[in-house]
Each structure stands twice: as structure tokens, then as C-alpha cells.
Amino acid sequence: MTRATSSTKRATFLWSAAFMVGMSGTGALLFTDFVQPPWGMAVMLVPMLLLIPLVRASERMQRAAGSASPAAARYNRRMLAASFAYVIGFLVAVALFVDQTVSKPVAAMLSLLPTFGTFGMIWAMARYVTEESDEYLRVRTVNAALVATGLLLATGTFWGFLTTFGVAPHVPMWVLVPIWAMGLGIGQLVNKVREA
């Protein structure tokens, strides 16, 4: 591993850690009196800004590792935009729903707000797989997506039976995308292990 690869990996890791700490910290704040929902939840936007240097560090790492491509750069920007759309949609939907006095049709419309961001993420991934002209990078992404999908289906089925048998509590369906995203990360690790 070259010095450039090593330092860019370190920077990406540090920005990832800062993002995770920031999101966890603001999440914890919601359980205190310092931040009151719904508008106090806007504090979550602050750690979201850390995604910008994180994406830049990640792109430097990709360039140093020789895995950068124009399609990957477009994917990163689209995912960034979709993530912000998701969080803003989520905050607005929760803020408007907080007193639970809205009618069911309005509640259904509010549910669409964070979903638009999710559509954006799925669209970004679909565009990447279509636009990536480097077949090796494309295969790696598709492999990771297969691992993520497999994990999601297996976890969902298992949790469904746990719920049916009264062992585990019900989990809202919006956790699907975060679980799939985690599976994507695991899929990339699987790629590395298979090629080691």
C-alpha cells in the first residue's frame, strides 16, 4: 500500500467516524431536554454536513487506489444529494406529523417526503450500474448489491418469524434501506476477502 493510499484511507476513516459520532450524538440529544422535536431535530443537519468532506476524502481514496471513475464521481454526488433530500424530507414529515392531528390522506402524503430521498438513492445506484463503463468496478458493485439484497431478505424473513412468534418487537419497514446500505458495506468487505 502506498503512502498516498494509506493517508487517504485514514482520512476517509476519520471523516466516517466523525459522521457516525455526530449522528449518534445528535440522536442522543433528542432524548434530552436540550433538543425538542420536531424542529430541534434540525440539529441532525449539522453532522449531515460532514458527509461533504467524507465524500471528498472517499474520492481521494478512490483516486489513490486507482478505482476512481467519472461514473463513481457522479454516483457520489447523487447519493449525497439524495441523503440530504432524505433527511430534510424526514425532518419536515416528522415536524408536520408531530401532533398527529393530520388526516390519513395528508399522513400518506407526508410519508412520501422521506421516501423521495430513498428513491433518489435507488436511482443513483441504478444509474451507476448503467453508466459505469469499467466492467470490473461494475461487477464489484453488483456483487456487493447481491450480498446486501441477500442479507436484507434473510434478515427480514428471520425478523418476521421472530415477530410472529412473539420473540422480537415489530420493526418499522423504513429500516429496510439503512439495512440494505449496511449490507452494501458488508458486500464490499466480502469483495475484498474474496480477492485477498
Binding site: G66, S67, Y136, L137
Partner: protein, 64 residues
């Protein structure tokens, strides 16, 4: 699949980055193909063969 990419590249004094640029793929792709971790598609194999002025069989070796 084994291949002679590393030797052919060395003969021309090309780095993996040089070859990647000529093939319009990432350096990581060249590394994966060269080390046998990834077998290229037929179109990419033809592009590699054309670049070196050889046939595919002269570059990629059948598994024993």
C-alpha cells in the same frame, strides 16, 4: 485465468496506470486482471489483444 499481461507490460515499460489509460479502464481493473482475480469480458479481452497486437490466446492461458 493466468495471463501474460505483466510480462507484456514490462516489455513495453508500461506501468499498470499506463495500461489502464490505454484501455480506458481503472488501474484497479488492470491489477485485478493481471493477478488473475478477474477474468475480462470478451470485448475487453479483444481490446487488450488489439493493444498488444496479439491474439487473445497469446495473452490469456487456458486453465490446466
Amino acid at each position: 485465468m493466468k495471463n501474460r499481461l505483466k510480462v507484456l507490460r514490462a516489455e513495453r515499460d508500461w506501468s499498470q496506470g499506463d495500461l489502464a489509460e490505454r484501455l480506458e479502464v481503472s488501474r484497479q481493473s488492470v491489477n485485478a486482471i493481471e493477478t488473475g482475480k478477474y477474468d475480462p469480458s470478451l470485448p475487453l479481452a479483444f481490446r487488450i489483444a488489439d493493444l498488444f497486437g496479439l491474439s487473445i490466446e497469446d495473452i490469456f492461458l487456458r486453465d490446466a
